[in-house]
């Protein structure tokens, strides 16, 4: 990869020339493992710091309308309850799409 330090070459132009040895399926596997890790290590039965369930629903259905602040930043990566709800919402969406 050849990258100039400045000039008019921006991040996007650089990125277009980047190859990704890991395909999307491998990324999917990684996120599944991360999900398992979160479910095992981050129980949050009192739902401390959890975003509103409606925000999680929007994250699945209309992600462009959700903000990082509404999600309480990276809270979901540290919350088994939110992760579980996300999984349910995803299943629900798949189910609706298949009908």
């Amino acid at each position: 990869m050849t990258v100039a330090i400045a000039d008019s070459i921006g991040k996007d132009a650089v990125a277009e020339n980047q190859t990704f040895p890991l395909d999307e399926d491998n990324d999917t596997l990684l996120f599944e493992k991360l999900q398992e890790h979160v479910l095992a290590h981050y129980p949050n039965p009192e739902r401390k710091g959890c975003p509103d369930p409606a925000v999680l629903k929007s994250l699945i259905e209309t992600p462009g309308e959700v903000t990082l602040a509404a999600l309480n930043d990276l809270h979901i990566f540290k919350c088994a309850e939110c992760t579980r709800l996300l999984m349910e919402l995803r299943q629900q969406k798949k189910h609706e799409a298949s009908e």
Partner: protein
């Protein structure tokens, strides 16, 4: 994996034409500290895997400071960059110490994944992995976690798929490494 060159580490720097000197000075400084930075990471943190990220952080801080100073020589920029790099190394070494020094070694064999201390350690691990990640990358990771596809994420963020994947790559590699370490009980 091929290591990027010092030039590649500077690709994110975007400055107005009147500050082109700074880009050249930063490039000079990165080349100068490159080998030493790797040695320091190896000796102080035990591995070199965080070197690139720490240099990038040091570059960002150096640029912020030097934009107000048009008189700095390349040597002075090198000194500043090295100082900021060492600062980041110290910061991470302290963070690592906080993890390493929890409990006694004989406790490790009896620690289950649901042990309260284990939960705290895991939280610290992820916090360290995800610290200093820009908001756009954080949001992209959350969207990917919610099973959005990369092309959908790119559309939401108004960028290209390749660009956002590149920006997330380092964080994903670190998460992957952490999960591998956990799997092998490291």
């Amino acid at each position: 994996m091929l290591l990027p060159s010092p030039s590649e580490l500077c690709w994110g720097i975007k400055l107005p034409p009147e500050q082109k000197w700074l880009e050249k000075a930063i490039h000079f400084a990165v080349s100068n500290i490159w080998q030493r930075a790797h040695r320091i990471a190896r000796s102080q943190l035990g591995d070199e895997s965080q070197t690139l990220e720490m240099i990038e952080i040091a570059i960002g801080k150096a640029v912020d400071r030097l934009q107000l100073n048009s008189q700095a020589s390349p040597e002075e920029v090198t000194q500043l960059l090295e100082r900021l790099y060492l600062q980041e190394v110290r910061h991470r070494r302290k963070a690592n110490n906080r993890i390493v020094l929890v409990g006694a070694s004989e406790d490790l064999s009896s620690t289950s994944t649901h042990h309260p201390q284990s939960l705290v350690d895991s939280a610290i691990d992820l916090d360290i992995i995800l610290q200093n990640i820009p908001p756009e990358v954080r949001f992209a990771l959350l969207l990917r976690y919610s099973q959005s596809r990369w092309n959908e994420i790119a559309a939401v963020l108004g960028t290209t798929e390749a660009s956002i994947r590149l920006r997330c790559k380092r964080a994903l590699n670190r998460i992957r490494q952490k999960l591998e370490d956990k799997k092998h009980g490291l």
